[in-house]
Symmetry: C2
Subunit: 227 residues, 2 copies
């Protein structure tokens, strides 16, 4: 469902070039549950953003469901993102002028879902992540972990087949974090492809595949099913 | 060094009032290493912001080094913050137009430190957190964990006697997180008072005192020295 072929990402800062990804190749099969781990600064978020079509590689190919994303223009890419990919950002990226409810409704507005249906779904999603009593709070009226949970609810709004989550439990206590992992487990069992970047070693018990990143390169790929 | 006397914080949202802190009282002695834990949304960041004089309680008293903060005007409070308190924010709060180096220099500019001295110290602090090769990156050219480490370096800029850190390792891999804990340990052994809000249960091995918060109240205070 996701394939990278020798993907490189170079940030050109004038006198300095930062090689964030130095040639990444792998294939993720439909319905997998992939954990991506690696040191701070090793390229995980860069990788996930390119995978989620939020950024383009400097060179190399990215295939989503067999389609070459470099052949797509920006609007086709945006539609692909809106329909197929739910993205949880490491720094949440919520819109500060909108309430929690409105933030979760936003992807459904783009998908053309009618008002009553999307409001109902947004409420259900926020209740599922324990924020039923925070619907009308704006992001700066929410705790860090509450903002993170709004970002998770928003990623699930259009029931996308692929979920990309960048450190989704970093601001959550153990119990809230386990609630989120239960949700991901349930989504995975319903057939979705889950790809999570995390620093939490316990997540090794959740996933089926582990990809280890170091210095912009894949250090190893492991099967986790018998751990 | 820090004393709370029946501190309450109520957010008035018109038709709804959120009681983030419902009456918190405790004393932190000079040189302690306090860990604050509790569920997402329980009031930890609110508590830490009031402790760091970034916010005022709705009612109750806060004493820093015996001085009643409610008797101070905003400029006196700002000077107290700049000289005595280093604050690491849960969402970093870096200035997006400044480089990592300039962000770390900022508190020293307010303290009137001359240019050459503060630049030298900012470089040393960024090297200490492993960002010696990222001095001229702006926050959006840094990974999440790198931004977190710039926020930590900035909090230490004026060598403050009190360090307040709101989930300082949430975006760091285990190894980078341990580097930060080593720095905190060293600062503690040099006589500083360290107060860390964290969701990481391993931090229980670092601190001397544990304060557990739940629903805006203190659920328990434990001595950790024999764990
Ligand atoms: N400006 C505000 N207006 C209304 N409610 C607020 C505001 N700021 C915070 N809150 C609420 O106060 C409560 C405490 O928030 P706080 O940020 O202190 O939690 P926390 O313990 O730090 O949580 P986390 O672990 O998720 O960071 C939360 O339930 C939050 O929704
Ligand atoms: N816009 C940019 N310009 C220059 N360098 C960048 C830019 N964005 C990221 N980098 C660099 O690319 C590298 C990879 O960043 P990335 O955000 O992918 O790391 P990460 O693995 O997600 O780290 P973390 O675990 O800290 O979130 C980092 O060293 C970072 O400094
Ligand atoms: Mg990252
Ligand atoms: Mg918080």
């Amino acid at each position: 469902v996701v394939e990278f072929i020798n993907v490189k990402k170079i940030y050109d800062m004038g006198e300095v070039k930062v090689e964030a990804l130095k040639g990444i190749s792998f294939e993720i099969l439909k319905g997998d549950y992939v954990i991506i781990m690696g040191p701070s600064g090793s390229g995980k978020s860069t990788l996930l953003h390119i995978m989620g079509c939020l950024d383009r590689p400097t060179s190399g190919k990215v295939l989503i469901d067999g389609e070459d994303t470099s052949k797509m223009n920006d609007s086709k890419l945006a539609r692909l993102r809106n329909q197929k990919i739910g993205f949880v950002f490491q720094s949440f990226n919520l819109l500060s002028k909108l309430t929690a409810l409105e933030n979760v409704e936003l992807p459904m507005i783009y998908a053309g879902i009618e008002k009553r249906k999307r409001k109902k779904r947004a409420i259900e999603l926020l209740e599922m992540v324990g924020l039923g009593d925070r619907l009308n709070h704006r992001p700066n009226q929410l705790s860090g972990g509450q903002q993170q949970r709004v970002a998770i609810a928003r990623a699930l709004a259009n029931d996308p087949p692929i979920i990309l989550a960048d450190e989704p439990t970093g601001n959550l206590d153990t119990k809230s974090g386990e609630e989120i992992l239960k949700i991901f487990k349930m989504l995975h069992e319903s057939g979705k492809t889950i790809i999570v970047v995390t620093h939490d070693p316990d997540m090794i018990h959740e996933g089926k595949t582990l990809i280890k990143i170091k210095d912009g390169l894949i250090e190893g790929v492991e099967v986790l099913e018998f751990v």
